[in-house]
C-alpha cells in the first residue's frame, strides 16, 4: 500500500467510521431521547412558553437581568445568579428553551401553581436507585416537586442528615443526589426567599470589627439594618412592586420595577456595586459561554487537521490552525472575563483549573504545530480539550462553575497568578504527550524503531510536548515553593499534591533519560507516554480525592483513609479509568514482548 493510500486510510476511514460513527450513534441516540423527552414534556413546554409570553416583552427582562444581587460571595447581575440556580437544579444551562431568568423568577414567585407538575430536578447520578426513590419512570431524567416533597422523602433526608453529619463526603453518590435534590426542593418551596439578597450592609456595618457585618440581606430587613429609611423603603417598595407586577403579568410594570430596584440598590451602596461595564461584560460572558464555543472550534480544528494531514492540503492545515486559534481566543477571553468579574484570580477551583488545562492544551498544540509545521498536536489535543470541556459542561454537580472568592492566604497573592497557570500548562503538555502516545502506540508496535518519516515527525512532536511539560512542572514546583515560602515560610512541605508533582517530574525524567540514552525504542517510549497519563490523572485528580492535602481544592479526601476513599462509589470512575489504563499499559508491554519484536525487523517505511 502506498504511503498516500495509507494516509487516506488513516485520515478518512478512521474519522468517518470511528469518529463519525460514534457521533452518529450518540447524536442519533441523543436526538431520539430528546425528541422523546420533548414529547413527554409537551405540557411543560407549553406551560412555560405561556409563562414566558405573559411576562416578557424582551426589554423588561433585560432590565431584570441587570439587577445587582449578592450570590456566591460576590455582587453579580441577577442573570448570573438565575443561571447558576437553574444549573444547580436542572444540571443544564437551559431547560425547555426558556430564559433562565424567567424560569428562576417564575419558580420563586409563581411557585407550585405553575411548577408542581413540571419535571425540573435532575436525577442522573443515582440513576435507577434515585428514580425509584422519587418514584419516577426509568426513562425520565427529571423529577417534579410532587415527586420530591413527600413525607417519606423528608424522613429519608433527615435520616441521611443524621447518619452523615460531619462526614458528608462519605455519603454514597445516589444518596447524596437524593439529599441535595430534597433540599433544593425545600428552597424551591420557600420561594427562594433567601436568594434575593439585594440589601448591602451600611457603611458603619462594613467598617465594623465583627466579620459577619459585611453580609448582604433580603429586602425585608432593609429598614432594621439602619439604612436611610427613605431609601430602604424605596428598595422594599420596588421589590414588592416587581413581585406584584410579575404575578399580575404586567410586562411594563416588571421593567419599571426592575429599573427602580436597581437604582435603589445602587443608591444604598454605590461603592460595591459592579459598574455598568462590568455588568455588561458578565452578561456577555453568560450569553456567549466562551468555553462551550471554544470546545466546538477545537473539535472542528481536530477533524479539519485530520483531513489536512490525509490530503496534505496546506489550506486545510491553516484552517485547522485558525480554528484552534479561535478556540484558544474564546478560552482566553473567557478567562479574562472570569478573572475581571471575580476577585482578580483566574484559577480558584477544580472547574477553573480544568478549564485552564483545556485552554492551555489548545494553546500549546497551536504553538507546537506552528513551530513544527505539523498537525498531530492539534489533532490529538483538540479532541482532548473538547472532551475536557464536555465533561465540565456535563457535570455541574462535580465541577461547580461559580466565580467565587479565595481564602485570605491565596487571595491578593502574586504567585497564584503564575504558579497555577504554569502547573496547569505542564499538565496540558503532558496531556498532549499522553494523547500522542495513544496515536503512537499502534504505529510503533509495527515500527518499534520509529523509522517511518511520518512517525518520526509525530515522535518529535510528542518529545516537544514532553520537554515543555517537564520544564513547566519543574518551574511550577519552584514557583509553588516560592509562594509557600512567601506565605508560610515553608518552601517544601511534602504535601501530597506537591509530592505527586515531584513523582510526575521524576517519572518524565526517567522517560527523557530513556529516550536520550536510546535504551527505549519508539514503542516503549510511546507506551511510557501513555502510562504517564495515568500518573498525570493521579497527580491531578487522585491526590484531591484519595489523599489528604492542603491545596485549595485538594481537601475532598477529608479524614477518611486512602482505602476508604479508594473504594468509595464517588471515585469509582477514577479507579476504573486508572485501572484500565494500567492494564492497557501492561497488556501493551506483554503484547510487544510476545509479538512486537519478531515483526519489527521486517518492517520498513515502504511497508506502509
Amino acid at each position: 500500500m502506498s504511503a498516500t493510500n495509507h494516509r487516506i486510510l488513516l485520515g478518512l476511514v478512521l474519522p468517518v467510521f470511528i469518529v463519525g460513527g460514534l457521533l452518529a450513534l450518540f447524536g442519533g441516540m441523543g436526538y431520539y431521547e430528546r425528541a422523546k423527552h420533548k414529547a413527554r414534556t409537551a405540557d411543560a413546554h407549553d406551560a412555560l412558553a405561556k409563562v414566558e409570553a405573559e411576562v416578557s416583552n424582551g426589554d423588561n427582562i433585560e432590565k431584570v437581568r441587570r439587577i445587582p444581587v449578592l450570590f456566591a460571595e460576590r455582587v453579580q447581575p441577577l442573570d448570573s445568579m438565575a443561571r447558576q440556580q437553574i444549573r444547580s437544579l436542572t444540571g443544564k444551562r437551559e431547560l425547555y428553551g426558556i430564559d433562565p431568568v424567567v424560569m428562576f423568577l417564575s419558580m420563586a414567585w409563581d411557585g407550585e401553581d405553575v411548577w408542581k407538575k413540571i419535571p425540573i430536578f435532575i436525577v442522573s447520578f443515582g440513576a435507577n436507585k434515585s428514580k425509584e426513590v422519587f418514584d419516577i419512570e426509568s426513562v425520565e431524567k427529571y423529577a417534579t416537586i410532587e415527586h420530591v416533597k413527600t413525607d417519606k422523602n423528608r424522613q429519608r433526608a433527615l435520616d441521611l442528615h443524621d447518619k452523615y453529619t460531619g462526614r458528608m463526603g462519605e455519603m454514597p453518590r445516589a444518596d447524596l443526589e437524593f439529599y441535595n435534590t430534597y433540599f433544593k426542593a425545600f428552597s424551591f418551596a420557600g420561594g427562594f426567599e433567601e436568594a434575593f439578597k439585594f440589601v448591602p450592609p451600611t457603611e458603619a456595618q462594613r467598617r465594623s470589627e465583627t466579620t459577619a457585618q459585611n453580609d448582604w440581606h433580603v429586602p425585608a430587613r432593609a429598614l432594621e439594618l439602619g439604612h436611610d429609611p427613605k431609601r430602604a423603603a424605596e428598595l422594599q417598595k420596588a421589590f414588592a412592586d416587581l413581585k406584584t407586577a410579575w404575578k399580575a403579568r404586567d410586562k411594563a410594570g416588571i421593567g419599571a420595577a426592575a429599573e427602580t430596584l436597581t437604582a435603589s440598590i445602587v443608591a444604598l451602596d454605590p461603592e460595591d456595586i459592579p459598574s455598568k461595564e462590568a455588568i455588561e461584560s458578565e452578561l456577555a460572558y453568560n450569553r456567549t459561554s466562551p468555553f462551550n464555543r471554544a470546545s466546538w472550534f477545537l473539535i472542528a480544528a481536530s477533524l479539519v487537521g485530520l483531513f489536512a494531514w490525509s490530503f496534505r492540503k496546506d489550506s486545510l492545515r491553516w484552517l485547522s490552525y485558525l480554528l484552534t486559534a479561535t478556540g484558544v481566543a474564546f478560552g482566553l477571553w473567557g478567562f479574562y472575563l472570569r478573572t475581571t468579574l471575580g476577585f482578580g484570580v483566574s484559577i480558584t477551583n477544580l472547574y477553573e483549573s480544568m478549564l485552564a488545562m483545556a485552554t492551555a492544551t489548545a494553546l500549546l498544540c497551536l504553538v507546537i504545530d506552528l513551530v513544527r509545521k505539523s498537525l498531530w498536536a492539534t489533532i490529538a489535543g483538540g479532541i482532548g480539550a473538547f472532551v475536557v470541556f464536555l465533561l465540565l459542561d456535563t457535570y455541574p454537580e462535580k465541577f461547580d462553575p461559580k466565580i467565587g472568592g479565595l481564602v485570605a492566604v491565596l487571595a491578593n497573592n502574586f504567585w497564584i497568578h503564575i504558579h497555577v497557570p504554569v502547573v496547569m500548562s505542564s499538565y496540558a503538555a503532558f496531556f498532549i504527550a499522553f494523547l500522542l502516545g495513544i496515536v503512537l502506540i499502534p504505529w510503533t508496535f509495527v515500527d518499534p524503531q520509529g523509522k517511518h518519516p511520518e512517525l518520526k515527525a509525530i515522535l518529535r512532536t510528542s518529545e516537544i510536548a514532553l520537554y515543555l511539560g517537564t520544564l513547566l512542572i519543574f518551574v511550577g514546583m519552584i514557583l509553588g515553593g516560592l509562594w509557600a515560602h512567601d506565605s508560610w515560610n515553608r518552601f517544601w512541605g511534602w504535601d501530597p499534591k506537591e509530592t505527586w508533582s515531584f513523582i510526575l517530574f521524576c517519572y518524565y525524567l526517567i522517560l527523557i533519560h530513556g529516550r536520550f540514552t536510546k535504551w527505549m525504542n519508539a514503542f516503549w517510549y510511546s507506551l511510557f507516554l501513555f502510562t504517564g497519563g495515568n500518573f498525570l490523572l493521579w497527580t491531578y485528580y487522585g491526590t484531591n480525592e484519595l489523599l489528604s492535602g492542603l491545596h485549595s481544592y485538594a481537601n475532598s479526601a477529608g479524614d477518611a483513609g486512602f482505602w476508604d476513599n479508594f473504594i468509595h462509589e464517588r471515585n469509582r470512575w477514577f479507579v476504573i479509568t486508572s485501572g484500565v489504563m494500567a492494564l492497557m499499559s501492561i497488556g501493551g508491554a506483554l503484547s510487544f514482548f510476545l509479538f512486537g519484536k519478531k515483526r519489527s525487523p521486517d518492517l520498513t517505511p515502504e511497508a506502509f
Binding site: P201, G405, V407, A408, N489, F491, F562, N565
Partner: protein, 746 residues
Amino acid sequence: MTTTATQDLEPRFQHGLLKPRPGHMPTLFTLIIVWAVGTIFLGVLLPFQFQRFDGGWFAQTQNILLLCSVCGVSTLHGVLGYLLGYHRGGRVSNFFVGALLLTLGLVAIVWLNRSRPEAPPTQPTGLMRRLDRAAFLLGSVWFGLVQLAIIMVFVMIATIFETGVGADGNKAAYANFYNHWTFGLIFLLFFMTIYCTTMRKWPFRIAQTGWLATHAGLLVTMVGCMTMFWGTYEGFVKLLEGQTTSQVLSRSERELRVAIPALGFDNRDDRFLVEVDHDPIEREVEQKIPFVVAAGGKTHEFEIEIDRFLSNAEEYSEIRPARTPREKPAAAFSFEMSLPGQGSRVFNIFEDQPSTLSSVPLKTRIIRVPHRSQLEAFTYRYDPGDRRRGELVISDEKDRAIGVIPIVPGARGADAAEGADVGSEFQIPGGPRVRVVRYFSYLFVDADGRLRDETPDSPLMPGISFVVDGPQGRENHSARCDDKWFNSDLDASETSAYPYRFAYRAAASNPQPAPSLTFVVGPGEEMNVIVTSGEEAPQRIKFEKDAVFRLSSRAPLRIKALAAYADAELEEGIRQGTGSRPAALRVTVRHGKDEATGWVFDFQRDLLSTDLVVGDFLVRLGYAPRATDLGFKLSLIDFRHENYPNSDKAKRYEANVIVDDGASLDAALIDMNHPLEQGGYRFFNQNPIGNDNGRRGVIFAVGRNPGMPILLIGFTITGVGLVLVFFFKPSLRAWEKRRREAAASN
C-alpha cells in the same frame, strides 16, 4: 529553710567523656556520614577527577591519603564541636563550625607545604583505579534511574501512609519517611550518583553545556535542601491586641518544664527537651531525664521518665463489665445523643444513679425485669387518651427504681364495679412478689371497706389494687391517682412490713408525659430501652451496639446505643482520640524510692499544669513548645479580619504591630502574603484568635529559612540547563562543530 538553688549541677561526664543522649545519636551519625562523605567527594575525588590523567598533585597516592586524613580528622573535630555544644542541645551548627575550622586550617597547611609534582604517572593505579571504577559505576545512568524510581515509590508510599494516619499525617510522614535516615541515605546516594555522572563527562564539551548545567544545578539544589533541612526554624507567636512578647515558640521542639518549689528549682534546661513527640503514631516511647538539684547543702537526684506520648490526648470515661462479680450488681448503659448540626455527647447511666441528663431534659432510669412476660407487656399499644393503662413503679428505700409492672386492664366480671382483672406481677429480687390484681376507673372504698369502681366506663380517677406476697406475709394494698396529677405515691413502708415504695401512674396521667428513657435489664440480661416521647406511643427497642433510634418519629434528637452491661463499672483514663486535641505525655518522676506518675498536657503555652507529689516534694510539670528569645519585642496593636459577604471564608487578615529592638520603635503592617521580616525571622498572619472578653488577636507563624538563596541558585542553573538540553542542543552541537572545524583548519 534557706535554699541555694543550683540549676546545673548534674555531671555531664561519664568515664571522663561527655554523655551523649540517645536522641542525639542519629543526628550525630548523620552528620558524621554527611561530612565525611561530602568532604571526601569534594576535597579528594573532585580534584582527583580533574587531575587523574595529567598526574597533578591530587592524583598522587600519598597526597590523596593525606587529604583523606584531613577529612577524617575534621570529622572527628566536628564530633568534638557537637559534643562541646552538648549543653546547648547539641546544635548542628557546632558540628559544622568545628569541622570546617579544622578543615580550613589543615587544608591551608597542606597547601602551603605542597611539593611540586614528580613526573606524572600516565594511568592511575591501585587505590586510584578502584576509586575510579567505583565512581564510574556509581555514576551510571541506569543506577541513577533506578534510584529515581526508588525515590518515586518511596514518596508514593509516604503519601498513602500520610492519608491513612489522618489529622497528624504530615507529621507522621515526616517522622517515618521524609526525615527518616533511609530517605537521607537514598538522597545522599543520589547526590553522589549525580556528582559521579557529571564527572564522567570530563573533559567537558560545549554541546554538553545544558546537560552539565542541569546536573550541576541539581547538586547545588540538593545542597540547598540539606541546608534547609538543618537550618529551617518554624515557630509561632500568639498575641492578643495590646500584648507584647519577646519570645517565639517552636513548632517542632517541645520541652518539659519542671519546677520543684521546695527546692527553688525551676528549670528550662535543654536536657528537658522532649524527644519522643515527633512521630504522632508512635505510642510506646522511652525517654529518661536524670537531673540533680542542690539545695541547702544537699544534692537531690531526680529522674523523669516519659513512657507514653499521645498526639491527640482525649480524656474518657466509659463503662465496662465489672471485673469481679458483685453482691449487688449495678447495670449501666452507655449511649450517644446527637442533634443535627450540634454535635454529639456520650452519656453513661448507672443503675444506682437515676438521673435527668444534664443539658438534656430527658429522664432516665434503669430497671430490671426478671420475667419475659413482663418485658413483653411493654409492647402494649399506648393510647394517650386511654387512662386505663399505666404502670406501678417499685422503688427501694433509697428511691432507686427496681421494677415496673405494666398495667393492662383485662375483662371485667359480671359486676363491673369490682374492677377489671389485671394479673401482671413482678418478683422483687431477694424480696416479695408483687401482683396487681384489679384496675378501677374511679377507685373508692365503700362503707364496708371494699374497693369499688364508681365509673367503670370513664377513667376519671384510676386506681389499682395489688398484693405484696413474701416471707414476711401477704399484704393487700391499693393506690389511686389524684384528680390533678393522675399519679400516686404510696409509701408501703408505713403500712407494710416490706421496705418499698410503690408509685402508681396512669398512662394518661399527664397529658404530656415528660420524655424519658427507661433502660430495662430483661431476663437473660437482654437489654432494652423503653422510649417515651410524650407525643407518641412508647417504643421498646433492643439496646444493641450501634442501634440508632429517635425519641419520636418527628424528634430530631438521635440516640445511638454504645454499650450495656448487667453489672458494670466505670473506667476513666486518657487515650489517643480523634480530631484536634492537645498532645500529652505520661511522665513518672522518681526521687530515691519515691515515684509518682501523671499525664502532662501540651496547652501550647508556658503553664505548669500537672502537680505530682514525689515523697516530700511537690513536683510541678508543664509541657510546652520550646521558647526562644527573639532579640526584640513585638507588640500587637490592632488586628483586623474580614470575611467574604455571606460566607465564613476569610478574605483579609491585617495586623498592625510595633517592633521594639531596644534602639528604636518601628510600626509595621503584616498583611496576608506580606510578612514582617525582623531579626532574621519572618512573621506571617496565620489564624485569628480571640478571648471571652471579645479581645481579638492573631497567631503569627514565625520562620527562618537559610537554605533559600542556595536553592534559588540551584534552581536557576537547573532551569537554564533544562532549556538548553531540550531546545538548544542542536545549536550547541553546531557551535561545537564549528569551533572544532575552525581549530582543525588552523
